[in-house]
């Protein structure tokens, strides 16, 4: 899965727990036995990740459907 390459350099979201800004990093995203490393904003300390609505409703939904029919 290729994802939000066009993500802005900085996210408006901070990790409320660690008080740190989120940074883009590889996060493993999996479904039905397939796993893809995806560039997502996440907290470098606790790993809390941000999935934007557009990604959930768009690419993720598409890939879910694809994997369900595979």
């Amino acid at each position: 899965m290729r994802e939000n390459n066009a993500a802005p350099a900085e996210s408006e979201w901070l990790c409320a727990k660690c008080g740190l800004p989120l940074e883009v990093g590889k996060v493993d995203v999996g479904y039905l036995g397939s796993v893809f490393p995806v560039d997502l904003y996440r907290c470098t300390k606790c790993g809390q990740t941000f999935v934007p609505e557009e990604l959930a409703e768009g690419k993720m939904a598409e890939v879910e459907k694809l994997l369900e029919d595979k």
């Binding site: 979201w13 901070l14 990790c15 409320a16 996060v27 790993g47």
Partner: protein
């Protein structure tokens, strides 16, 4: 589903059966395709279609005895399509295309044909095309045989000559004025040639020494045209009594004889797979209902035949026979743009894929399983059964995609949890002669009606009316989850047995079907039959319902329950309503879009199903299934539930009210149970989950998107509860909103929220099924 089963199912769809015209034609001219091409002005393609089946097209287009026209379906509304005249017109008006056919290498095998009429020449032509070296022996001084019995006007000699040129092209040798039996014997032909085709028109005296039947005619096998001499085959008019000549049958015989001779020389079976030759019956059904009558197109020049324009008009009278009875009434079958024969094959292939994309998953899961296709199918093919079986196999193989059915299955599990499930005898009694089973969806849509109905039944019926709140298991059954269904239904059965096997009163048509199918030892009765017998409660009646006819929308799961249809109508009449019958009602009723979980697997399709249904009448609709009512009303159709007329609509709503959303549906069930526990059974209500105390504020606009995304308030509450207790959440540097996510089971929910006065304002929520790997986040 194995290959054999597949074959049987495919065979029941008759859409690919030939049209009556092509079937009745002994050489199967595809008159339907030819007419379609002419109707589109494409005479060249039409000529190509025609010539493909007929070796001497000019002759046949003038003298064919056209058995096609006798069976033409157009005759139900006007004259048969003039197929023969159209054949001539496509030769007249086609662009002249050069014959690009090439011959196969010569086989160095010789075949003799006796008789230069249509049958013999057809055999000669077909065999020469296969590479045989063919000699035709004609007793007269010219070819054509009985063709010269037709008038010159009908069949000019130039036409015969032009058509017979085809024989030169394939290298047939012609021997004129040679009478077999006199100048040359059949025995010597048999010595010099590998095989002989006899087509002398009339049987020569003495019969050339071949075996005869009782009437003195040659013994000819109708399938192979073989005679008593294995090298000799015979056909054409000699097979028919004189006066019953048929040019097209002669051609068909010539072709049949050529096939036999080819097989004989190749030493392969003469009889295998020959069912398709010659005139046939077709199973193709074509409705001519509502077809406007149209007579034959007249010719300005009767001798010259149709002009281009006339031919187009005449070709347009062809109704392009096809069945599609099911596709015409089913939006599901229509939306996948094909027909069951193809669908069955696609589904079978889908089940057989080991690696690769399963393109037919959506096809399998979109069907409402309503069975209307079977009702209208001339061959009783039920795509619903095919799809249901396919779903069961997919579940068994572990290949069922999770997303289409996950939500309704969770809804079912909720209904069968302590939140809603409840089984009790009538308060103050221990025996139960009856058991009221209102169903999960009526309880979700109109809990008050359930309470009032139960009270009414307790008052009217003697012997104890038990109550069972839960889901009948339909979502598991529909989605192919056989095991889940069995487990869930086993609970129902054991509780029913504990209550002393009471008669079950069912308010939901689907529950009725499930009980009838899976608990055949129980006596089941629909609520409507009971209310038909007891009569309506006091005060029931017109109320706010306009003084107009109500169009009854029968539930698809009652399709074969005439007594239920009748009971509903009896109640309506007794309440003083005039009844309007929709075109598709009773055993031909349509599904509302909920059946088979269509709405969850394919919401766009379900919406168009609902849209089609509600356009069938301007009258208010009357449904007797909670989901039918809510789905029809969801698209803006004024729809009453029968219980609205008997006990009042929920919260003073009317036919226009939308059904409750997913959260409210669960809430309604839980509250109904608690209210009954407290009020009727004097028991403690079931407490809510810890997160249930989290107050939410949700705008109407967001509410709509939550419905579409199938996100419940309890999902949101769980996310907030997790975020607030663990501190694991994001904060926006812009708005100060929090964003948190939580995955209670298969779905990850995201909620953007802020806090105000001890409540949570929900700004957005969305979800996905893909799973994130997030290190130690959850450890807090």
């Amino acid at each position: 589903m194995d290959q054999e089963e597949l074959g049987k199912l495919e065979a029941r769809c008759i859409q690919e059966q030939p049209p009556a015209c092509a079937a009745a034609c002994p050489v199967h001219v595809d008159a339907r395709a030819m007419a379609a091409a002419i109707a589109g002005g494409d005479f060249t393609s039409a000529a190509k279609i025609y010539k493909k089946s007929v070796p001497f097209p000019g002759i046949i287009s003038r003298v064919c005895d056209h058995p096609c026209q006798a069976v033409c379906r157009r005759r139900d509304a006007g004259d048969a399509v003039s197929v023969r005249a159209l054949e001539k017109s496509c030769l007249d008006w086609a662009e002249q295309v050069r014959d690009t056919g090439f011959l196969p290498p010569a086989k160095n095998k010789r075949v003799a044909v006796v008789g230069g009429g249509l049958s013999g020449l057809t055999a000669a032509f077909e065999l020469a095309k296969k590479g045989f070296s063919v000699e035709v022996f004609e007793k007269e001084g010219r070819l054509g045989g009985s063709l010269f019995r037709f008038s010159r006007e009908q069949l000019p000699e130039e036409v015969i000559a032009a058509d017979l040129q085809a024989l030169d092209k394939v290298g047939v040798t012609i021997r004129l004025s040679v009478k077999v039996g006199e100048a040359i014997s059949l025995e010597s032909l048999c010595e010099d040639f590998e095989a002989v085709y006899l087509a002398p028109g009339e049987q020569p005296e003495g019969g050339l020494g071949l075996g005869l039947d009782g009437a003195g005619g040659w013994l000819i096998d109708p399938v192979t045209l073989g005679t008593t001499n294995p090298k000799v085959f015979a056909g054409g008019s000699v097979r028919r009594s004189t006066g019953n000549r048929s040019p097209i049958e002669s051609i068909a015989d010539g072709r049949r004889g050529a096939i036999s001779i080819d097989r004989f020389i190749q030493k392969v079976s003469l009889t295998a797979s020959r069912g398709g030759e010659g005139a046939q019956e077709t199973r193709l059904f074509t409705s001519t209902e509502g077809l406007a009558p149209m007579g034959e197109t007249a010719m300005a020049d009767a001798a010259g035949g149709y002009s281009r324009e006339e031919a187009v008009l005449e070709a347009k009278r062809c109704i392009q026979c096809q069945c599609l009875e099911c596709v015409k009434v089913c939006e599901y079958l229509n939306s996948f743009k094909s027909y069951p024969k193809k669908y069955v094959r696609q589904i079978y292939n889908n089940l057989s894929i080991v690696m690769g994309h399963r393109h037919a998953n959506k096809l399998v899961n979109s069907c409402s399983l309503c069975g209307l296709c079977r009702e209208v199918c001339p061959e009783d093919l039920n795509m619903g059964l095919v799809c249901k079986k396919a779903r069961e196999i997919m579940v068994e193989q572990g290949r069922m995609p999770p997303s289409p059915h996950d939500f309704p299955i969770r809804d079912m599990l909720f209904s069968n949890s302590e939140k809603f499930a409840l089984t009790r005898p009538q308060p103050g009694t221990s025996a139960s002669r009856y058991l009221f089973f209102p169903g999960c969806q009526l309880s979700a849509s109109a809990p008050d009606q359930v309470r009032k109905t139960y009270a009414f039944l307790c008052e009217q019926l003697r012997g104890g009316v038990g109550l069972m709140l839960r889901c009948c298991g339909a979502p598991a059954e529909w989605s192919g989850r056989v095991e889940l269904f069995s487990e869930s239904f086993a609970d129902i059965v054991s509780q029913w047995q504990e209550l002393g096997r009471p008669q079950v009163i069912l308010a939901c048509s689907t529950c009725y079907e499930i009980f009838k199918t899976h608990l055949p030892e129980a006596s089941v009765i629909s609520l409507w039959e009971v209310l038909d017998r007891t009569g309506p409660p006091d005060g029931a009646g017109r109320g706010s319902v306009p003084d107009r006819a109500l169009a009854v929308h029968d539930a698809c799961s009652t399709r074969h329950e005439k007594h239920i249809h009748q009971a509903v109508r009896n109640i309506l009449r007794r309440l003083g309503f005039e009844i309007e019958e929709l075109a598709l009602s009773g055993d031909k009723t349509e599904c509302c879009g909920y059946g088979g979980l269509m709405f969850f697997a394919n919401p766009e399709l379900a919406r168009s199903v609902i849209g089609n249904r509600i356009r069938q009448s301007d009258s208010d609709y009357l449904a007797y299934c909670a989901m039918c009512r809510d789905y029809l009303a969801s698209a803006g159709k004024r729809t009453w539930h029968l219980l609205d007329l008997l006990f009042g609509a929920p919260q003073g709503g009317d036919a226009q009210r939308k059904g409750p959303g997913y959260t409210m549906r669960r809430e309604n069930r839980a509250r109904l149970k608690n209210a009954l526990l407290e009020e009727l059974f004097g028991e403690k209500p079931i407490g809510m989950e810890k997160y249930g105390g989290i107050g939410l504020r949700i705008s109407d606009e967001l509410r709509e998107s939550l419905e579409r995304r199938q996100i419940l308030d309890s999902d949101i509450q769980q996310v907030i509860e997790f975020a607030e207790s663990s501190g694991s959440k994001l904060r926006s540097s812009r708005s100060g909103h929090f964003l948190a996510h939580w995955k209670p089971a298969a779905v990850t929910y995201w909620v953007e929220y802020s806090e105000a006065e001890g409540e949570f304002i929900v700004h957005n929520a969305y979800c996905h099924r893909m799973e994130l790997t997030e290190g130690n986040r959850r450890l807090g």
